[in-house]
C-alpha cells in the first residue's frame, strides 16, 4: 500500500503568505506561457509546443521543496513549471519555443521543452522516455560520493513507469539509498494510452515497495499537498534515508503536444470535468479563503504576468537564429579536456 498524503495548511508547512504568492505566480506564469505558446503555434510562429496546463500544481508544489543552486533537477518535457521554479525565465522558455541561438537548453537544437541548463542545475533531457531516470540515480550517487549536500529531483509521466530504464534507475537508487526523489505526474494518459492499459495497478506509487523505499500518493491538483509530500521526501533524502517515489494524480487539459488531437481518445466531458479540479482555481480559492490574495489582487497579478510573458515573447522573437555554420560544433569537447 502506498501512503496517501493528506492536505495541510500552509502555516503547518512553514510557508509564508509571500511564499504562497510566489508559488501562485509561477503557476500562473506557466499557464500563461502555455496559452501563449499554443497561440503562437496556431499562428505558425512556433512549429511545436508541449502543453503543461493542468500540471502546474504538482510541478510547482514538488519543485518548491528543492533548493535552487544546490539541488539537481531532471525534469521531463512537460515540466515548464518545474524549470520556472529552478530559475528559468519566460524569456528563456520562448527562446526555446522559437529555437533561437541563445536558447539556454540547446541553442535551438532540440525541440522546445527539452530542458537543460548547467547554470541552473537542470540536466539536459531527451525525447526517449525515462532515459533520465538512471541519470538521476548516477548523479545522486556522485553527489553522495563527493559528500555534497544535494538532493536530486527526477520528474516523469505515468507512461515512463513502463520503461526498463525507469525500473533500472529506481532499483539502483534503492540499493544504494541515494538522495533522489522520483516524482510521477500521473495524468492517466501516455499520449492516448490510458493508465489501465499501461499498468495493472491503480497507483504507480505501490511499485516503490519493490525497490525498498516509500511510495506516496498525493492529489496532484493540490499544490500544498504536493509540496508537503516533496518536502518530506527531500528531507528524507538529505538525511541519508534514501529515495521516495511520489505519485501526483493530475490531468492534462490539452493534447499531448500541438501535433496531437486528444479528441481521438478522450471525451470532451471527461476533460471538462477534470477542469473543475484545475490546480490554479483551487489554489486561488485557497489564497482567497486565507486572506492571502483577494480576487482583485489575483487579477492584477495575472495581468502583470501576462505583460511579462508578452514582453518575453516579443524579445525572444527578435533574438537571433542559430548560425548554420555552428551545425558542426560541440560534437566533441572543443577545449580538448
Amino acid at each position: 500500500m502506498a501512503t496517501r498524503v493528506t492536505p495541510a495548511a500552509h502555516e503547518e508547512l512553514g510557508l509564508s503568505p509571500d511564499d504562497l504568492v510566489r508559488m501562485y505566480r509561477l503557476m500562473v506564469t506557466a499557464r500563461l506561457c502555455d496559452e501563449a505558446a499554443f497561440r503562437l503555434n496556431r499562428q505558425g510562429k512556433a512549429p511545436f509546443v508541449i502543453p503543461v496546463s493542468g500540471h502546474e500544481g504538482c510541478q510547482v508544489g514538488t519543485a518548491w521543496a528543492f533548493r535552487s543552486g544546490q539541488d539537481i533537477w531532471l525534469p521531463y518535457y512537460r515540466d515548464l513549471a518545474v524549470v520556472l521554479v529552478a530559475g528559468m525565465t519566460p524569456y528563456e522558455v520562448f527562446l526555446g519555443v522559437f529555437a533561437k541561438a541563445d536558447d539556454p537548453c540547446s541553442g535551438g537544437r532540440q525541440m522546445p521543452a527539452h530542458w537543460g541548463s548547467r547554470r541552473l542545475g537542470i540536466i539536459t533531457g531527451s525525447s526517449p522516455i525515462a532515459t533520465q531516470v538512471p541519470h538521476a540515480a548516477g548523479i545522486a550517487y556522485a553527489a553522495m560520493y563527493r559528500g555534497e549536500d544535494a538532493v536530486v529531483g527526477c520528474w516523469f509521466g505515468d507512461g515512463a513507469t513502463s520503461e526498463g530504464d525507469w525500473h533500472e534507475g529506481l532499483n539502483f537508487a534503492g540499493i544504494h539509498r541515494l538522495p533522489v526523489v522520483f516524482i510521477c505526474e500521473n495524468n492517466r494518459y501516455a499520449i492516448s494510452v490510458h493508465q489501465s492499459k499501461q499498468m495493472a495497478v491503480e497507483d504507480v506509487a505501490v511499485r516503490a515497495e519493490g525497490y525498498g523505499f516509500p511510495g506516496v500518493v498525493v492529489d496532484g491538483n493540490d499544490v500544498l499537498a504536493c509540496y508537503r509530500a516533496a518536502r518530506e521526501a527531500v528531507e528524507r533524502a538529505r538525511a541519508g534515508q534514501g529515495p521516495t517515489l511520489i505519485e501526483c494524480k493530475t490531468y492534462r487539459f490539452h493534447s499531448h503536444t500541438s501535433d496531437d488531437d486528444d479528441r481521438t481518445y478522450r471525451s470532451r466531458e471527461e476533460v471538462e470535468e477534470a477542469k473543475h479540479r484545475d490546480p490554479l482555481l483551487r489554489f486561488a480559492a485557497y489564497l482567497k479563503e486565507h486572506g492571502v490574495l483577494e480576487d482583485r489582487a489575483a487579477e492584477e497579478l495575472r495581468e502583470e504576468v501576462r505583460g511579462e510573458v508578452e514582453e518575453a515573447i516579443d524579445r525572444a522573437w527578435q533574438a537571433p537564429d542559430p548560425d548554420p555554420a555552428t551545425l558542426g560544433r560541440h560534437v566533441f569537447a572543443e577545449d580538448g579536456r
Binding site: 548516477g138 556522485a142 560520493y145 533500472e168 539502483f172 560534437v331 566533441f332 569537447a333
Partner: protein, 328 residues
C-alpha cells in the same frame, strides 16, 4: 618495460588511474567480489572499496545510464559491459544519451565516460559471446570507438579514454586477452584516440585491420614476404571512430593496393567504411581492386569448432587474398 598480456595491461592501467584520481570509479556486473569475469578488476574491491568498485544489478542500460549520470556530475566512470553481446539493451543510453548530450546541450554538458566491452570471436563463444559491435557505434557522431589489438595500445588507449572529456566505447578483443603479449612501458603513457598505427612497414600492398584480425594479417604478411617476396604494409586502425583517414590513405597511396580485414559480418561492417574512404579518396593511386575480407553474413559463428572456424577469417584465408592482391 614489463612484458604483459592485454588483460594485464588493461588491469594495470585501470589500477594506476584509480590510484591517481579519486574521480575514477568502476561499475558493472561482477566487477567487485569476482573481480570481473575476465579478472580485469581483480583485487580492486579490496583496494578501493565498494564505493569505487560497484557491483551493479544485472541491467546494461542501467549500468550505462547510471554511469552517464555520474559522468555529468564530476566522476570519471569506467563502466564494464560483461560481454559486448549484452550491450544492446544499453544502445539507447549510449547512442541517444551519452553520444548526444554534448551536442544537444550546445556544449553545456559533457559525458566523460568509458564503456569497456570484451568483444569478438575465437573463444567458443557462439552466438552471444562472440559478437563484433563496432559498426553499430562507429556510425554515431559524438561517440569515440576504440579497438586496440596489442597490450601497449590497450594500456595507452585506455588511459587516453579515461582522460577524454567525451564518451569512449573501449572494445577489448577477448581472443587477444591472454594470447598477445609484449613489452609495455612502465611509465604512464597515452596513445592518442583517432590515430591508426602502421604495425608493419611494407611497399607492395596495404592491409588494414584491427583487433584479432590484425595479428592474423601480420602473420600472413610474414608468409607473403617469405613465399612471394611481396612486402605488405599492415595498418592497425586502433580507433574505429573517428577514423584516421590520413594514415590509411597515406599507406594506400604509397603501396597502390589495399585490402581491409575485419571479423564482423561483411555487409555494412566497419571495414566497409574504410573501403569506401579508400575508393573515394585514393582511386587514382590504386593499381588493383580494393579487397575486403570479413565474416560471412550469417547471424553468428557457432559453438561447434568447425562452425566457428568457418566463420572467422584466419591467417590462411587472409594470406590467400593477400597473395591474390599482390599478384594482381
Amino acid at each position: 618495460m614489463t612484458e604483459k598480456n592485454v588483460v594485464t595491461a588493461i588491469r594495470d592501467t585501470l589500477l594506476e588511474e584509480m590510484r591517481g584520481d579519486e574521480r575514477v570509479v568502476v561499475l558493472g556486473e561482477d566487477v567487485g567480489a569476482r573481480g570481473g569475469v575476465f579478472r580485469v578488476t581483480q583485487g580492486f574491491l579490496e583496494e578501493f572499496g565498494d564505493r569505487r568498485v560497484i557491483d551493479t544489478p544485472l541491467a546494461e542500460s542501467g549500468i550505462v545510464g547510471v554511469a552517464i549520470g555520474m559522468a555529468m556530475h564530476g566522476l570519471l566512470p569506467v563502466a564494464e559491459i560483461q560481454f559486448a553481446d549484452f550491450i544492446h539493451p544499453a544502445f539507447d543510453q549510449i547512442v541517444s544519451e551519452a553520444a548526444r548530450i554534448r551536442y544537444r546541450s550546445n556544449g553545456d554538458f559533457g559525458v566523460p565516460l568509458v564503456i569497456r566491452a570484451p568483444y569478438g570471436g575465437g573463444v567458443h563463444g557462439a552466438l552471444y559471446h562472440s559478437q563484433s559491435i563496432e559498426a553499430y557505434y562507429g556510425h554515431v557522431p559524438g561517440l569515440k570507438v576504440v579497438a586496440p589489438a596489442t597490450p601497449g595500445d590497450a594500456a595507452g588507449l585506455l588511459r587516453a579514454a579515461i582522460h577524454d572529456p567525451d564518451p569512449v566505447l573501449f572494445l577489448e578483443h577477448k581472443k587477444t586477452y591472454r594470447l598477445i603479449t609484449e613489452d609495455v612501458p612502465d611509465e604512464p603513457r597515452e596513445v592518442p584516440i583517432g590515430r591508426a598505427d602502421v604495425k608493419r612497414e611494407g611497399s607492395d600492398l596495404t592491409v588494414v585491420a584491427y583487433g584479432l584480425m590484425l595479428h592474423h594479417c601480420l602473420e600472413a604478411a610474414e608468409r607473403l614476404e617469405r613465399e612471394e617476396g611481396s612486402s605488405a604494409e599492415v595498418v592497425d586502425v586502433r580507433t574505429i571512430a573517428p577514423l584516421d583517414r590520413e594514415t590509411i590513405l597515406g599507406s594506400v597511396r604509397k603501396t597502390g593496393k589495399a585490402m581491409v580485414v575485419y571479423e564482423d559480418n561483411r555487409t555494412y561492417g566497419a571495414g566497409a567504411e574504410i573501403v569506401a574512404t579508400i575508393a573515394e579518396e585514393a582511386m587514382f593511386d590504386l593499381d588493383g581492386p580494393i579487397l575486403r575480407v570479413g565474416g560471412p553474413d550469417v547471424p553468428a559463428m557457432g559453438f561447434a569448432a568447425p562452425l566457428e572456424h568457418a566463420f572467422l577469417p584466419d591467417a590462411e584465408r587472409i594470406y590467400e587474398r593477400m597473395r591474390e592482391l599482390a599478384r594482381f
